[in-house]
Symmetry: C2
Subunit: 196 residues, 2 copies
């Protein structure tokens, strides 16, 4: 059975893909783009390095511009990012029967509540999975064992998170993106470990 | 790295074991016994049918008798079963670095809260995993694909759940166990599907 995994090129979404693949699903990695900036290249490269199928799903720019309006109003990214994630899953659920993302136990944003997951599954007749049963220590250990990782400060050239197109749009509007998104170290998957 | 999976012989704990095995963990299936009734045989047979290592961990009978006292007082099993599960994980965390169970998204009992998981991991310096990121539809589909299942009304001869020794003790004390535990269909794993 086909399974679509929302994919950023990071270790969380890569691990979700590996779990589904090793359980026998036909995995398709999906990176979202809103036509503001082509942020999907790092994810595409990571997907290729692992040998997974990869697609870019182009969604309506207004999803992103609405999110950026929320972020400017809140001076805080959480509601905007959650808005994008919900809209993305709604679209994905129209095209795939099994959809997944790499949100893990400690993640707060983006994250679906239990009731939101049930609503999504029931309304769309689909199945949704994530990594909520697994904590960051286990995800770090496992991905260090499975993947070759490249760690660097996240920027628009090494990540395909929603954050990247948000940053571009905020900058265009004259906002200081480093104030809204603190710099953080990004672990990008660039291949399997030799023995995998 | 070694990982201990609390194991009943059912599809949830079997799936947890398969995921960890396919991510490269050295999986040991653990079935708990409190010395009231040897309920571990179905789990032992299921573990053997999948080719996993299996151990019976004998714990202090008072954990079970305390739980049964709670169940009689409440006339409802939830608090008693949660008590057992918490005590079991505390013991397991003293012996293993990575511990897991098959609780899934919809499960309410037994289930650890987010704060209880963090406390367990921090106090014991261990990692805990479960299937909270996966719903019953996906677990059913996947286990139907992976495992040969035997479905029948659950009884003390075909399940190694905590419930079985609780039933024996309640019966000894003269209680009607069918009133406290409604009959339900039990899916026991009895082997791999041919192509797995």
């Amino acid at each position: 059975m086909k399974a679509a995994v929302l994919y950023s090129g990071g270790k969380d979404s890569s691990l979700m893909a590996v779990i589904l693949d090793r359980l026998g699903y036909d995995v398709e990695l999906i990176t979202i783009n809103f036509g503001i900036f082509n942020s999907s290249i790092p994810a595409q490269e990571s997907a290729k390095s692992l040998g997974f199928k990869h697609k870019v799903l182009n969604l309506d720019k207004t999803i992103l511009t609405d999110a950026v309006d929320m972020i400017i109003r809140d001076n805080f990214p959480n509601n905007g990012i959650n808005h994008i994630h919900h809209m993305v899953l709604e679209h994905l659920a129209d095209e795939y029967q099994v959809i997944a993302d790499g949100t893990r136990r400690e993640d707060r944003i983006p994250k679906l509540k239990f009731s939101e997951i049930q609503s999504l599954e029931d309304r769309k007749g689909i199945q949704y999975l994530n990594l909520t049963g697994i904590g960051y220590k286990t995800i770090n250990d496992t991905s260090d064992r499975l993947f070759t990782l490249q760690k660097s400060e996240s920027n628009i050239h090494n990540s395909s998170d929603y954050e990247m197109e948000i940053r571009v749009l905020l900058k265009e509007k004259g906002y200081d993106t480093n104030e809204i998104f603190p710099q953080h170290i990004q672990s990008r998957v660039i291949g399997w470990k030799e023995n995998e």
